[in-house]
Every structure is written in structure tokens, then in C-alpha cells.
């Protein structure tokens, strides 16, 4: 009896650690067999470009969830960045991008201040910006879609370096950066500690408030960057639709990747795999003419399964 339970616990632990990799691998194998031209360079590039903004947003979200928080406002931060971008393109793409990302940082700082200083629950603090942020973005853009004609900015969305689209390169570099941040830096350790046990961290003298505030700033910056890149790829600034509901995709990626919602543990590569899994699933369904509706229901089932597995560890 005891042995059986051990086996079950071991199996669940294994699934938590490697389940998402196995699922991605299985989908790749299935597609290699049943989907023609799946492994063409063009298709791989398309899939990677499509998933890149979600990956970038999900990386920030993973940090937030690691502190036992959540950031619902990421889609609105993307919209704000997209709305601000065309206003400053006259000064050059670099300046406009910096300002757009800066707006994301300010949005994140507001979230961070509400969570860390006022002590409002993350869901509520970021809900306010989710509601208000997109409205503000639409006010800034006057509800208009604006074509982007700046060649430097457009090249970010269209060109590639040695076969790797620039968008994907951004996602890869940020993944590496976040992985190092979590594993190798003091800030990363403090972040995980705060998520694991906030009171103990406080008692141990960690700068809990600063860590919390910074995490939301990072999430805002990542989201704004994703907004800039998505705008470059769309070749238009569209604050009414860019990043709509991306908070759900990002949270899904993080959770499916094995990061528990209860904080204290961040799985960076798992998060990327989670985003990839959802993207591959959608692509598989589309390529076989299965409707989007089926995809959403399967996605729902995967979320519940993933959380069920992470819960077992906590129990």
C-alpha cells in the first residue's frame, strides 16, 4: 500500500516536471506523421512568430505568479504601448519604443504600488488597470487604427537573423534572461522567497515591498515590449484588439508549465513550453480544419489537469 502511494507520488512529481515537455514532444511527433509540411521552415517560423508575444508576456506573468500574485493588466499594457508608439515615431523608432516600454513600466509601477504599498490583492489592483488601461489606450489613439510606416520598426516584425525571426530572437533572449534572473541573482531568490512565505521573508529582513513592486514593473515592461513587437508584426497600431485576453493565455502557459499559483516556485522553460503547447494545439486543430471551439474546450481541460497535478505536490 505504502509503496503504491510512493509510486503514485513519484509519477505525479515526474509528470509535473516533465509532463509539459512530453506533451509538446507528443504533439510534434503526431504532427510529423499526420500533418504534411508541418516541419517546413516556413511553418516553424510562423508558429514561432505567433507564439513569441505570448511567451514574452508569460515570462513576466511567471515572475508575478511566483510571488503568489497575478497580473490581469498585461493586455492593457500591450494596448497602451501600441497606442503610444505611433505618437513618437517622428523621433525615430528607438525613442518611440523606449517611451512605449516606459509606459509599460509606469503601468507596472502603479500595479506594484497598489499591491506592495497599499496592500490591495493583485487580482483587484491589476483588474483596475485592465479595465482602465485599454480605455486610456483608446482615448490616446482616438479609437483609431494607425498604419506603421517606420522601416526600422517594421523590420522588427518582418525580418530574421540567420533564419530566426527577430520577434523569436527577442523571446529567446528574454527567456534566457529571466531564467538567469530567477536562478542566479539575489533578486530572483528574494522573489521566490517572497512567494514561498511572505511573512518569513519579511522577518528575515528581505525588501519584500521593493521585490513585489519590481516584479509588477517587470511584467509591465515585458507586456509593453510584446505590444511593440505585436504592433510591428501587424504593421499597424491597433489598441482596441492588440493583447485582448492575452492575460488568459499567459496565465495558462505559466500554469501548464508547472508553476504553482501558490507561488514560491518559478519554472521559466516550463512556461515557454506551456505557451508552445497551446500554440501547437491550436495549429494542429487549424491544420486539420477542426473548429476553434474544440480548441478552447481542450485548452480548458488541459488547464484543469495541469492545476490538478500541481495541487498534488502542495498536498
Amino acid at each position: 500500500m505504502a509503496e503504491q502511494r510512493m509510486d503514485r507520488a513519484r509519477m505525479i512529481a515526474w509528470l509535473q516536471n516533465y509532463g509539459v515537455y512530453v506533451a509538446v514532444l507528443a504533439l510534434l511527433v503526431v504532427n510529423a506523421i499526420i500533418t504534411p509540411h508541418f516541419f517546413s521552415v516556413a511553418n516553424i517560423q510562423t508558429q514561432a512568430v505567433q507564439v513569441a508575444p505570448v511567451v514574452i508576456v508569460a515570462l513576466g506573468m511567471a515572475l508575478v505568479i511566483g510571488t503568489e500574485g497575478v497580473d490581469l493588466s498585461v493586455g492593457s499594457s500591450m494596448a497602451l504601448a501600441a497606442a503610444v508608439l505611433p505618437l513618437y515615431l517622428g523621433y525615430g523608432a528607438g525613442v518611440a519604443m523606449t517611451i512605449a516600454v516606459g509606459v509599460g513600466a509606469v503601468a507596472g509601477l502603479i500595479n506594484g504600488a497598489l499591491v506592495a504599498l497599499v496592500g490591495i490583492q493583485p487580482i483587484l489592483a491589476t483588474l483596475a488597470l485592465l479595465v482602465g488601461g485599454r480605455g486610456l489606450a483608446l482615448v490616446i489613439a482616438d479609437g483609431q487604427l494607425k498604419q506603421i510606416e517606420n522601416p526600422a520598426l517594421l523590420s522588427l516584425g518582418a525580418e530574421d537573423i540567420a533564419g530566426i525571426p527577430i520577434l523569436v530572437a527577442f523571446a529567446l533572449v528574454l527567456t534566457l534572461g529571466v531564467a538567469l534572473l530567477v536562478k542566479k541573482t539575489t533578486f530572483g531568490r528574494q522573489l521566490v522567497a517572497v512567494g514561498d512565505n511572505r511573512v518569513a521573508s519579511q522577518l528575515a529582513g528581505l525588501p519584500v515591498r521593493r521585490v513585489l513592486a519590481l516584479v509588477y514593473v517587470l511584467s509591465g515592461v515585458f507586456a509593453a515590449l510584446a505590444g511593440v513587437l505585436a504592433t510591428a508584426r501587424l504593421t499597424a497600431s491597433d489598441p482596441s484588439s492588440v493583447g485582448n485576453l492575452i492575460e488568459l493565455s499567459a496565465i495558462t502557459s505559466v500554469v501548464v508549465g508547472g508553476t504553482p499559483l501558490s507561488g514560491g516556485r518559478i519554472r521559466v522553460v516550463g512556461t515557454v513550453m506551456g505557451a508552445l503547447l497551446m500554440q501547437l494545439l491550436r495549429a494542429t486543430l487549424i491544420k486539420h480544419d477542426l473548429p476553434d471551439s474544440a480548441g478552447q474546450m481542450i485548452q480548458a481541460a488541459i488547464i484543469v489537469l495541469a492545476v490538478y497535478l500541481t495541487r498534488e505536490r502542495a498536498a
Binding site: 487580482i123 483587484l124 489592483a125 482615448v139 488547464i303 492545476v307
Partner: protein, 317 residues
């Protein structure tokens, strides 16, 4: 704390006071605001989110959250419009049946497997939208309510010049107030929100109560969707996106704490009306872009929650 006996009152009835202030100021500022017709419009437009927010009040008092209400609202509307060809009973029955199913799934997953409500209802939000797409040919088909159907009367009819949905909302809030404060179910809801472990140790029916809470939330969302479909004479698939956020905002503005264990339905009603009045005022001003509504709603939410949190901290100190 002893020299500030008004603090808990402000926290509890702050939204009612703010609502009254906004209405008074608006009445003096805009000549077109304070009229029977305009109030009637606000009432009918607020009645649908109010019914959804009522269910959310129970959920949040119990320390949970229900993100799936927007999807269930839309589903309720579409299946009610679909079912109305067989009569009013079928329309309501289908809407309540499907939404009840979603509520049961939410409740059982949350209560039995003890998964986080946030994530379970996020999954049912997606599943609900998926189901919605699959029964409407990927959102391209809108079911219409037959022109002569009695079902439309439920959404469009009125008594004493005030629409049915408004009356129903009033009745539902009265019933909910009694259930919340005068029944075992209501007391268990508060107890679970205060401390689920303690509620369990006291021998309260935690599992049953939680299933009941999520079931009522989904049923109310489905009912609201069905009424809305009756009012519009069609099941519009794109409605209800983001409704969960409006409902949560209204509940929280109404003084129900997201941490659970405390709250009331009156505040929720004031919260919903506050959002409705803001929207109405922005329409009155006319020159303002409708996007301002979201900005102002977001600002209100921040201010209200900040004030509540700051006052709450003082009280516990």
C-alpha cells in the same frame, strides 16, 4: 478605533453614499439626467449585470471568485434564443439547465478537488466560450426569438412603466438578502469565507454550500443572459465578454471584501448602479469618447479599493 465608530459604516455603505453623491451632483449639472425616463433606462440596463453581480456576491463572500459568468451569460442567452422556438418554458429551461451544469462543474471541482476557484472558473470561461462557438457555427449564426413568442415579454414587458427585468432584479436582491443573513446557507457562506478550516471543524456543510454557491452564481448568470436575449429578441454571441470583471468591480465597490467573510447585497446593487450611472453620464456628455467610461470605471475601482484597504488596516490595528 473607539473614537472612530463611523469607519466600519463607511466601509459598508461607502458605495451607497458615493452613488447618492454622484446622482445628486449629476442631477444639478445635467438637465437631462434627472428624469423618470433616464432613471428607467439606467435601471433596465443595470438589471442584467446586477443579477450576475448578485451571484458573484455570494461567491466572493465565500472567499472564491467566478470568472466564468460572462461565458455562462452569453451561453444562457444563446440557448434561450434557440429554445424559444418551443416556447418560453423551453427557453428558460435550456438556459438554466446549461448554466446549472456549468455551476455544478465549477462547484464540484472547487469543493471536491479543492482546486483554486480562479483557475477552475478560468477553464470553464474558456470551455463555455468554446461551447458557445460550437453551437453557433463558430459564432457566425445568431438565433432569433420568434416575433410572436411570449418569451420576449419577459425582457421587454413592463409593470407601472418599469421593465420586468428591473422588478425581477429587485425581488432577487430581496430574496438574496434574506438568504444571506437569515438562513443556514447564508451563515455557512460567511463562515467559509471567514475561515474554511474553522467552518469544517464546526461541522458546517462546507462542500454542499460551496457547490450551492457556484451553482447559484451560474444560474443567475444564465438567467440574466436569457432575459437579455428576450429583451434583444436574439441570442447575441459576443455579449458577456468581460462581464465577470464588471461584476467583480461592482461587488468590491459595494464593500464586499475579496478576502471573503464579509459583504452584503445592498452594496453590490449600489456598485452596479454606480457603474451604470457613470456610463449614462458619459453618454449624456456626448462629446466624450465612450472609452472614457472604462478609464473612469477603472479609476473608481482603484479609489474605492484603496480607501477600503486603508480603512480596513486602521480598523484592525
Amino acid at each position: 478605533m473607539t473614537n472612530r465608530p463611523w469607519l466600519p459604516l463607511v466601509r459598508r455603505y461607502g458605495s451607497v453614499v458615493v452613488l447618492a453623491l454622484v446622482v445628486v451632483v449629476a442631477s444639478f449639472t445635467f438637465g437631462t439626467f434627472a428624469s423618470f425616463d433616464n432613471f428607467r433606462n439606467i435601471a433596465i440596463q443595470s438589471s442584467f449585470p446586477a443579477i450576475v453581480a448578485l451571484g458573484m456576491t455570494f461567491v466572493i463572500i465565500s472567499g472564491g471568485i467566478d470568472l466564468s459568468v460572462g461565458s455562462v451569460f452569453a451561453l444562457g442567452g444563446v440557448v434561450a434564443a434557440y429554445g424559444s422556438r418551443w416556447g418560453t418554458g423551453a427557453a428558460l429551461g435550456l438556459a438554466l439547465g446549461i448554466s446549472g451544469l456549468f455551476g455544478l462543474i465549477n462547484g464540484l471541482l472547487i469543493a471536491r478537488t479543492r482546486l483554486a476557484p480562479f483557475i477552475v472558473t478560468l477553464a470553464t470561461l474558456l470551455a463555455g466560450r468554446g461551447l458557445l462557438l460550437s453551437i453557433t457555427e463558430e459564432g457566425s449564426h445568431t438565433y432569433l426569438v420568434p416575433r410572436d413568442s411570449f418569451f420576449t415579454v419577459l425582457g421587454q414587458g413592463s409593470i407601472f412603466g418599469i421593465g420586468f427585468p428591473v422588478w425581477l432584479t429587485v425581488v432577487l436582491f430581496l430574496v438574496a438578502g434574506v438568504v444571506l443573513h437569515r438562513t443556514g446557507f447564508g451563515q455557512s457562506t460567511f463562515a467559509i469565507g471567514g475561515s474554511e478550516e474553522a467552518a469544517n471543524l464546526m461541522g458546517l456543510p462546507v462542500l454542499r454550500t460551496k457547490v450551492g454557491i457556484y451553482l447559484s452564481s451560474a444560474l443567475l448568470a444564465g438567467l440574466s443572459g436569457a432575459l437579455n436575449a428576450a429583451r434583444l429578441s436574439s441570442g447575441v454571441t459576443i455579449l458577456g465578454v468581460g462581464l465577470e470583471l464588471d461584476a467583480i468591480s461592482a461587488v468590491v465597490m459595494g464593500g464586499t471584501l475579496l478576502t471573503g467573510g464579509s459583504g452584503h447585497a445592498t452594496g453590490t446593487l449600489a456598485g452596479v448602479l454606480l457603474l451604470g450611472v457613470i456610463q449614462n453620464l458619459i453618454n449624456q456628455i456626448g462629446t466624450l469618447n465612450s472609452s472614457y467610461q472604462a478609464v473612469i470605471s477603472g479609476l473608481f475601482l482603484v479609489v474605492v479599493v484603496t480607501v477600503q484597504t486603508v480603512l480596513g488596516e486602521r480598523r484592525t490595528r
